[in-house]
């Protein structure tokens, strides 16, 4: 009697503990959601306030006179559409190049055991750590002598190489997961190795390839430091640079800055929503051996 009583009391207390921990977990998640999302929400609200409602003595929490004037102004300003085109072009070119070149390299490292394989893998891991500022200077000189300074191709080439190591590790992880038997079967049916790569391995790893592409795209779309250094004319500036230079040009046009920020993060949020699951898996593989 006494024993079962104490047991049920223990269960009770365990249940209470669990509820207590759950409450804490909910509180943590709620707090973190506010922390993570409030800046975005605030920026979105600022972007639809007229300038006179942003610069006020008494802060306006909910926009009283919502307007899209900042978006319209921004869009009509010369150079803004160009900079988005520049960013889109650079990003697409980077993704295409990395996926093309990176797929071959990752497949090679994933499938073959050749001399120097370990060293090459280590090499790719090491170059990930090089300080970007150190490369910035020689790249500037190099691209200038190649005539690629201040061009979108030069920028894309730089981004391609920088995202190569991490993409390669991610892709390798995804290719490792494709059973070699399937490839062998395709080859028995008369496929060459190249054919098997295109017809069997790549289709099977497509969600992983898509996730890698999204990661590269986000990185290229957001990149600021190299774009600032390696471009200086309107024809090749990407939007993070333009957004930053806007601050210097005018006296903190908060409405415009907020609107520019909102427009520029929209594409990456959409991309991200599509690929977040595979992205998590890929990053895990890239950073640690799971």
């Amino acid at each position: 009697m006494q024993f079962s009583g104490s047991l049920s009391r223990m269960r009770e207390s365990q249940k209470a503990m669990r509820r207590f921990y759950d409450a804490i977990a909910y509180a943590v998640i709620a707090f973190m959601l506010v922390f993570a999302l409030f800046p975005l929400v605030w920026t979105a609200m600022t972007s639809i306030k007229p300038e006179k409602d942003i610069v006020t003595n008494e802060l306006q929490y909910i926009p009283r006179n919502p307007t899209f004037e900042h978006y319209v102004t921004l869009w009509n300003r010369s150079g803004v559409t160009t900079m988005f085109r520049n960013s889109a072009f650079t990003t697409s070119l980077t993704v295409a190049l990395v996926i093309l070149v990176g797929t071959f390299a990752a497949y090679s490292i994933s499938r073959y055991r050749f001399r120097g394989r370990g060293a090459i893998l280590l090499f790719y891991l090491t170059i990930r750590m090089f300080p970007s500022v150190l490369m910035l200077l020689p790249l500037y000189i190099m691209l200038r002598s190649l005539g690629l300074l201040d061009t979108l191709w030069g920028l894309a080439l730089t981004y391609t190489t920088f995202s190569m190591p991490v993409s390669l590790l991610m892709l390798k992880g995804f290719f490792d997961a494709v059973p070699a038997d399937l490839e062998d079967a395709a080859r028995i049916d008369g496929c060459t190795r190249l054919g098997a790569l295109f017809r069997v391995v790549m289709p099977l790893a497509r969600s992983g390839i898509a996730a890698t592409a999204v990661l590269i795209a986000v990185g290229a779309w957001n990149e600021f430091l190299f774009a600032l250094m390696l471009t200086n004319s309107e024809g090749s500036r990407t939007w993070p640079v333009v957004l930053q230079l806007m601050v210097g040009e005018f006296q903190l046009p908060w409405g415009l800055i907020a609107a520019g920020g909102m427009i520029s993060i929209l594409p990456i949020i959409i991309f991200f929503a599509f690929a977040q699951k595979a992205l998590v898996r890929g990053l895990m593989v890239g950073a640690v051996k799971g």
Binding site: M17, R18, D22, A25, V28, I29, L33, A36, L37, P39, L40, W42, T43, V55, L59, Y61, V101, G102, F104, A105, S108, R117, L122, L125, I127, M129, F130, P131, S132, V133, L134, M135, L136, L137, P138, L139, Y140, I141, L157, T160, T161, M164, R193, L194, G195, N222, L225, L228, P240, L243, V247, A258, G261, I265, Q276, L283, M284, A287, V288, K289
Partner: protein, 324 residues
């Protein structure tokens, strides 16, 4: 019947030969793909790119650090000065402040982001929690926001006149009056660290959560049978199982923190005074504003040496180099 009259129809092997004769580059590639050089052929483009755009520049950068070279006065050319630029750096008093700032920035940044990321991941990892999947995606958003936009967002939030955070803190009674967070030497670094915490914690949450998911349930069940408390389970199971992930994430984030002056460029430009001046910003400014590439390279090489330590720790502890 004359067998030689229509050989290409009657003899199947002749038909194949006929097809091969038409030149097709893909056939050639396909053939090459069966040879033993294929692995190297596949690797070559990526290796060439990396050698040209990363390795050569890094080598050249190290070379530059021993040269006096200003791009604005390129006509003067390069002059070998040996370690002079390094010695000059270490003779500047400001340089020690910059190194100290870099240290603060990296250590406090990585630690705060790890802790907040860990707490968030632990909360998300509870099985009884509902809506976790949605929260997980939403919590990742700050991580994909570009540094420039993040900087501007927080500049507005923390503005000394229009900042909503000031407004809320005054309303709550925490502050007497609005603060100029980025303009005061005491609060500038914590304020920039807060912005980076916002941007950086999701990275830890993401990796730690994924790591927690891969810990087998049986371990926890066995511990429960033994009557372990939640804290004991965390110390004895979760933490040790997560160590490789923690180390990898921490070091990768540390490297990113050493490397990136983005937030400082957007928010403070190193100021007020030298309060938020870090090595990466210093190197960038010498190069971008003064075009003194030689001196900037010397600062970058010092960063490279700091990063090498990180890299070796990463290799040693994360298990990422284990060949599989």
């Amino acid at each position: 019947m004359n067998p030689s009259s229509s050989p290409s129809v009657n003899n199947p092997s002749d038909a194949i030969k006929h097809q091969v004769k038409r030149f097709n580059p893909f056939d050639l590639l396909g053939k090459l793909s069966e040879s033993r050089y294929w692995a190297y052929v596949l690797l070559a483009p990526s290796l060439l790119l990396v050698l040209a755009v990363i390795v050569y520049p890094v080598g050249y950068g190290i070379f530059l650090s021993f040269q006096q070279f200003n791009l604005m006065r390129a006509a003067l050319g390069m002059k070998f000065v040996g370690l002079e630029q390094y010695i000059e750096l270490f003779q500047e008093e400001d340089f020690y402040i910059i190194i100290k700032n870099t240290f603060t920035w990296v250590v406090f940044g990585a630690c705060s982001q790890f802790l907040v990321g860990l707490i968030t991941a632990l909360a998300l990892n509870r099985k009884s929690i509902r809506g976790g999947a949605v929260a997980r995606v939403l919590l990742l958003l700050p991580w994909i926001i570009p540094s420039v936009v993040a900087g501007h967002m927080w500049a507005l939030l923390l503005d000394s006149r229009l900042g909503v955070i000031n407004d809320i803190l005054v309303w709550l009674g925490v502050l007497d009056s609005y603060q100029a967070w980025f303009a005061s030497a005491k609060t500038a670094m914590p304020a920039v660290l807060l912005v980076d915490l916002w941007r950086g914690f999701p990275f830890f949450t993401l990796l730690l959560y994924a790591g927690m998911q891969s810990i087998p349930d049986e371990l926890y069940e066995a511990a429960e049978v033994d009557g372990a408390t939640g804290w004991q389970k965390f110390i004895a199971i979760t933490l040790p199982m997560l160590t490789p992930v923690i180390v990898a994430a921490g070091i990768l984030r540390g490297i990113a923190l050493v490397n990136s002056p983005d937030l400082m460029i957007v928010l403070t430009n190193g100021g007020p005074g030298l309060a938020t001046f870090t090595l990466s910003l210093y190197a960038f400014q010498i190069a971008y504003d003064n075009f003194n590439f030689g001196a900037a390279a010397a600062v970058s090489v010092i960063m490279l040496m700091i990063l090498m330590v990180f890299t070796m720790l990463y290799f040693k502890f994360s298990g990422v180099t284990k060949n599989t």
